[in-house]
Symmetry: C2
């Protein structure tokens, strides 16, 4: 985080500021040597490939494999293409599993649908075999900060794999195992987000957005009215309104709060580090970790070269700034701006971003983005949700209050291999 970001740090104390200033993002801690790590029992959690998904989806509808091929072709997708990616993933999984067994480890291969707390308890370490989405799923059931999780990107051509080991190890997994054994790595404890929920209109049951692919829509409004109606009849209308509950989920990337329907504006109030409540109208609110600062938050905040070029052009004519505007200068400025949006996964701060604020006569302007230790949000939405890591969704309607913070005990233990 560079000095110009001083403007972003107005709410942080000195200690936090020096943490961000004093430790440039890309310097790796040269920590003391780590003891070798050789787990006895390893769970390998595998993703569902698109091929498997389409099979389930259309076989559910009673279509034959022939129909499926035709259907995909008509839509411009290739059945054989999906099968090819599926096979690539499967063979990469087999490579990982063989490598583990050769080292004498006991391996359990678990599909994402079968992955649960029992698997987590059984394993000494868990390997995510898929992409970033699979890593998020794996992390979501690891609630302690001492169970190591390692991600392997099983389709490097299609998947970014930010949370996975460098793609080199996908086909050379024994190398990764060797480094782990010999202690040629360091632990990276990734900070995660916890959420306290209180107020009215809460339905503490959640929806798994990935599992629900086949019947995504929920009658959440009707459900809520039914819930309130039954509470009224049983006389518990008042009692249930003031309990605060800590959600049993931790976010590795971010919490996103907003109207479920992508086309509707979200109304809410936000209080940063116990500051005054401010009304906001925007297309949503993102609160992310250092890990998540490279994910959705990054895409919300980053600027395209086109926008940077125009700002610099206007700046030149308005301020008489004599900034040369060659393509490479514009690229450099764009890259530097975008890089400043990313911070360290082990940083204890949250980054909140008010996505597409609607500023007009009615709603006041405020900071669009900033760091905090704690963010409280009060919903004023019709039909909103709080989405954790793009995968688990909680209702978050008018009156509900979420308090978002971090705690050391929630950290996720991951590895960074030495070069």
């Amino acid at each position: 985080m560079s000095r110009r970001s001083a403007v972003n740090l107005v709410r942080l104390g000195t200690r936090a500021a020096s943490l961000l200033y004093g430790n440039p993002l890309r310097r790796v801690h040269t920590a003391q040597p780590v003891a070798g790590f050789k787990p006895e029992k390893v769970a390998v959690v595998t993703k569902t490939t698109r091929y498997e998904f389409e099979q389930q989806r259309y076989l559910y509808a009673g279509l034959s494999e022939e129909d499926l091929t035709q259907l995909l072709a008509m839509k411009g997708s290739s059945y054989s293409g999906l099968l090819e990616r599926h096979n690539i993933h499967t063979s990469n999984v087999e490579h990982v599993v063989r490598s583990l067994r050769r080292e004498g480890m006991e391996v359990r291969v678990v599909k994402r649908g079968e992955y649960d707390e029992e698997v987590v308890r059984w394993a000494d370490a868990i390997i995510s075999a898929g992409g970033d989405g699979t890593m998020l799923l794996v992390a979501s059931k690891v609630l302690s900060n001492d169970k190591p999780v390692v991600g392997v990107n099983t389709d490097p051509e299609r998947s970014e794999g930010h949370l996975c080991l460098p793609v080199h190890y996908t086909h050379a997994f024994p190398e990764a195992l060797g480094k782990l054994c010999r202690g040629e790595f360091r632990w990276l404890w990734r900070q995660r987000i916890r959420v306290h929920l209180e107020g009215t209109g809460i339905n503490p049951s959640s929806v798994d957005l990935h599992e629900q692919q086949l019947s995504l829509e929920q009658h959440s409004q009707a459900h809520r009215i039914t819930t309130m109606d039954s509470r009224r009849r049983t006389g518990t209308l008042h009692d249930s309104f003031s309990k605060t509950s800590l959600l049993p989920i931790r976010s590795l990337n971010e919490i996103f709060i907003g109207e479920s329907l992508s086309s509707r504006a979200s109304y809410y109030e936000i209080s940063v580090d116990d500051g005054p409540w401010e009304k906001q109208k925007s297309s949503g609110l993102s609160i992310c970790t250092g890990t998540g600062s490279k994910a959705w938050s990054y895409n919300i905040n980053k600027l395209a070269e086109q926008a940077v070029e125009e700002v610099l052009q206007i700046g030149k004519s308005q301020a008489g700034l004599d900034v040369p505007l060659h393509r490479d200068i514009i690229e450099k400025v764009t890259d530097e701006y975008n890089e400043s949006l990313v911070f360290r996964p082990d940083d204890t701060h949250l980054l909140y971003s008010i996505r597409e604020p609607i500023v007009n006569r009615v709603f006041s302007s405020s900071r669009q983005r900033g760091f905090a230790s704690r963010v409280s949000v009060r919903s004023r939405c019709w039909d909103a949700c709080m989405v954790l890591d793009g995968g688990t969704s909680f209702e978050f309607n008018d009156g509900a209050i979420a308090t978002i913070s971090m705690s050391e005990e929630d950290r996720l233990r991951t590895v960074v291999l030495e070069h």
Copy 2:
């Protein structure tokens, strides 16, 4: 549109460029004097106030007015506040209606739920009494380009009213009527968007997002599978896949295409002015008119002062400049940048914006925003929709192709009163 936006015009021909360069946005055409306009039959379409909505919602659940008051209070809303806004709206509507009747016009007051094509046929002119949302609804049923529509903002304290007459006339409607009678106004034909749909996975039935407030979620996936299943059984699986249909709706503001669920990334391909298809992954795609360039598109593209300041700071240090950046310079640059996002309602161009592009190893970077006469989009989405003016939603899933364009016959006839 200022000269620096030359970079935005690379795809336009000379004629379009001169249209945008030669006609600064804020200059009003000094057209020849307009004949006075005095309609005999005027329909006044009124919005549903939040008070009315909450009443319907909770009475539907069997709650009494007392329960409703308590419920709202517990959520931090004020029953009396909602009632007050409702009364303000109602009295403003009465003011408009009285003014019209005093001029000898026949007036029909129609709630938004009762407003249909028969009302449009009956009326010589239609007044929208509400906010911008009500104007969009009113416009949506006026498909000819010769029926005048006038918007009156019935709650200026709460509503922006971009599409309505200046707030002054809300309490002085006879003045507006006077100007219309004496021809002290000009016609503004606002260009609108039309959509052709083809390909697989189309469900041409639409969902009215406002009407569906109480049961918003749809089993769209299940519906589609059912539709395909029945087509398969009747042997029409192939036939229905290649028909192109012109949707019976016109957008006054914009089309938004993207995954229905706000947290999911959208995959699609885009072709601008019959150019090559480009794969995109982003949080959605907005295609707007000049009218809409002040609405959602504006919020997607505008920059906060915080971002502009940081870009200018980085630009300065990259170029080795040490010129202080005063707050008012930052404000001016921000305002000028944001103003360049807006163009004239009678402009025949579309502005497309790729919202939050996800650029990485897998997806290539491209122009994030630009003008066009025609945009084609092919869906690669799981469960996406095409939302017209934030109010009507069509399914738009994997394989469907939408072609978005404009036609003179779709224009909406509105008024701009003289000062």
